[in-house]
């Protein structure tokens, strides 16, 4: 099967991977607080990592979802420049991840399921983040999620950028909306790393297999969630409702699994990712 045939089969709207990148980054796409606001009641935001500060690029707190208390945590992008500056364009600092860890441990303490919304270009790569241990913060988040004794669902609602996204997506169910992306690095970064030319990002986007459908085919994610015609930004409330319905359904299923079994399944889910030959 050549590339074009395969492409046409898996993507009925004939959107290229680069088109999906643009849709995933669309500033009018609903963001984490839009989802929380529409899907949850009584959202009570909890702030700060108790060590350094409060990072506006990650929001989280308690809420009621589908008639139960949940801990919702997500990357938060802005819809305009001013909010994006405040939110650091959804690029968390170490204190953002440490806040998320705090909330996850609290969810475990009170036996509350965790719902994560993933939407980040990357973890913040600035000098100050390095000084405060960005690598450690991401690693700790991954570790916390590997054996957190409550159900975790992660939904990619925009950009799933590299380790910055992984730190909120080690989960029992990882689902993606159809026009979102998840990648080892941004297409621009990959093009720059491999071909020394970030302008080749569209080629990188195709090569990286970063669309929801690609990642479903690669068995990395559990479900591709449909969006309204034209993308989530065309009918935000409908997009939110459609995703919310799928989260509710998954939550219902995994909440009934005994936690020891669920942890074993989570272990297997990640332990089996990888393609190699036993020569």
């Amino acid at each position: 099967m050549d590339e074009t045939t395969k492409h046409a089969e898996t993507q009925p709207h004939e959107l290229t991977p680069w088109d999906r990148v643009q849709l995933a980054r669309h500033p009018q796409r609903p963001h984490t607080l839009d989802y929380i606001g529409a899907l949850c009641e009584d959202f009570t935001e909890l702030h700060g990592d108790r060590r350094f500060g409060d990072d506006a690029a990650i929001v989280g707190g308690l809420a009621t979802f589908a008639a139960r208390t949940v801990m919702v945590i997500g990357h938060q992008k802005g819809s305009d420049t001013r909010e994006n500056v405040k939110r650091n364009f959804g690029m968390p600092h170490p204190e953002g991840y440490r806040k998320a860890q705090r909330l996850m441990r609290q969810a475990e303490k009170f036996a509350i399921p965790v719902i994560c919304f993933v939407d980040t270009p990357a973890a913040d790569p600035k000098k100050e983040s390095e000084e405060r241990g960005q690598a450690n913060a991401i690693a700790e988040s991954i570790l916390v999620m590997t054996n957190l004794r409550v159900p975790i669902i992660s939904a990619v609602i925009g950009e799933g950028g590299s380790g910055g996204a992984l730190a909120l997506s080690v989960a029992d169910r990882l689902i993606m909306q159809e026009n979102t992306i998840y990648s080892v690095a941004s297409p621009e970064a990959t093009a720059s790393i491999l071909w020394r030319d970030s302008a080749k990002a569209a080629d990188a986007a195709r090569a990286l297999k970063l669309t929801a459908q690609d990642l479903y085919d690669l068995r990395i994610i559990d479900e591709v969630v449909a969006e309204p015609e034209g993308g989530a930004h065309q009918a935000s409330q409908e997009a939110i409702r459609m995703l919310g319905e799928r989260i509710r359904s998954h939550l219902e299923i995994i909440s009934q699994i005994e936690i020891g079994t669920l942890l074993k399944q989570r272990y297997q889910k990640y332990r089996t990712i990888g393609t190699y030959l036993e020569a």
């Binding site: 690598a135 690693a139 190699y276 020569a279």
Partner: protein
Amino acid sequence: MKEFFRRRKTSFTTGEQPEGSPVPDDMWVKCAACRDLVYKKELNDNLKVCPKCGHHMRMSAQEWLDLLDADSFSETDAHLRPTDPLGFVSLDESYADKLVKSQQRTGMPDAVISGMGMIGGQRLALAVGDFAFMGASMGSVYGEKMSRAAERAADLGIPFLTINTSGGARQQEGVIALMQMAKVTMALTRLAEVGQPHIALLVDPCYGGVTASYPSVADVIIAEPGANIGFAGKRLIEQIMRQKLPAGFQTAEFMLEHGMVDMVVERNQLRATLGRLLRLYAGRREPVAQFMVSSEIYVNGRT
């Protein structure tokens, strides 16, 4: 019991240059730090640390195995081979070609050697990265070998040493590579469950997805002097983020100062340091070898 790496004379001085290599096997090496010419034999006898300025040069995974007691190493999972899971469409060299070239140049199937061995008579599992193999980028084979080594250590109830150097996740394996960060971290929880330590050694350079996963949550993190260690590369921070970086930014010493590593240890002190740590975590007061000879009853009484 001041011990140094063993077998170094054979592995450091002979047969390391692949046949037909454009670089001749010179008798002299130029130190990248002080720019002085160093007699190669002297350099190798000094564990590839510049005798003039103390600069720690990079070592291959094979060379790192000399950290173990003589003849104690047995390799595991040597049969794992990389594939091209995405059918990565490259604009220049294909992933498959890159793999073959790296395999020919290094003699390794992928960027990690794993196995078991001893340090100061104490058994441990270990996994070592080799920067010469595609920047020791973490793909499926890297992640699988690390994970199996961690699980094996857990099954046997022995400590696990990782020697880490990497440019980050392997781009050509996409999200599969990214997910290895979670996979190895996951496998290491088994080790934690059986109460055995993970000791991570960070050597130059160590970046991206590797730094941002399992080594940064090790029980003990040791860095080599001067090693560059970080999450985002310096060029990215300077050129994209347009920030001025202070001298010494992202060095091992910088990491120590900011509380990110436990200690910076010179290469000729590594065996002694690791031996001591293994002993301490095992709850032993004396080196194993001396112990067995001097007081068998006491050993039994303790275990």
